[in-house]
Symmetry: C2
Subunit: 100 residues, 2 copies
DNA sequence: ATATCAATTTGAAAATTATCGAAATGTAAT
DNA sequence: ATTACATTTCGATAATTTTCAAATTGATAT
């Protein structure tokens, strides 16, 4: 993976609110809202105290970094983690560890 | 690990130049400059085309996020990756993967 | 003691980012 | 058709970030 792409991924996770959003999406797999790994934005918006426009912007940035995959379901939006990408990141970080 | 700390770590890796710097430090373990995982800043500064003040600032930010550990050796500065922290990050990301 | 050189600090400019309120869009329900 | 509601777009502002040139510090070598 090229450095710019990698930096973009980390940037997407570098804002506390956006990171929290990402973690909620990631954890939704095991929560009440789940539908095979997906999560509805509506269901998590209340638990973060930031406005809807900001959420929308953050989601776009996560999706733009390929960290999540979104899908429109009627008027709702669902998100799920792009596990392949995250696996790649984990591998890249692990490669540099002496305790591999 | 708390979210703010986690975000700070990702932020430290979110700038392409700073990420490249980090990766060079991480890879120095297996390079010519190595002294048991350490690397001298002098030896990598030429390979990045950014000025010394910027490098200094970036190193401080990486160290501030605990991603690297620095040590002064006379007038030189050496860096090495904080492998414990990186291992923790890897674990946190892996926990959310279905392919653990 | 002086010169050299690695690194840091300072001050500043340009660019980017996070966030919001208001308005707009599009879907679904009545 | 009208309403309600999730999400998005727009425009704007405040805060943060990246970067550099110039000056400073501190250590080593001559």
């Amino acid at each position: 993976m090229d450095i710019k792409k990698m930096a973009k991924i980390f940037k997407a996770l570098s804002n506390p609110n956006r990171l929290e959003l990402y973690l909620k999406i990631a954890d939704a797999r095991e929560s009440d809202f789940q539908t095979s790994g997906e999560c509805f934005v509506t269901d998590i918006i209340d638990s973060l105290n930031i406005g809807a426009p900001t959420i929308s912007h953050h989601i776009k940035e996560l999706a733009n970094a390929d960290l999540i995959i979104t899908e429109k379901r009627g008027k709702f939006l669902t998100c799920r983690v792009n596990e392949q990408l995250v696996a790649e990141i984990i591998k890249l970080l692990t490669l540099r560890q002496s305790t591999k």
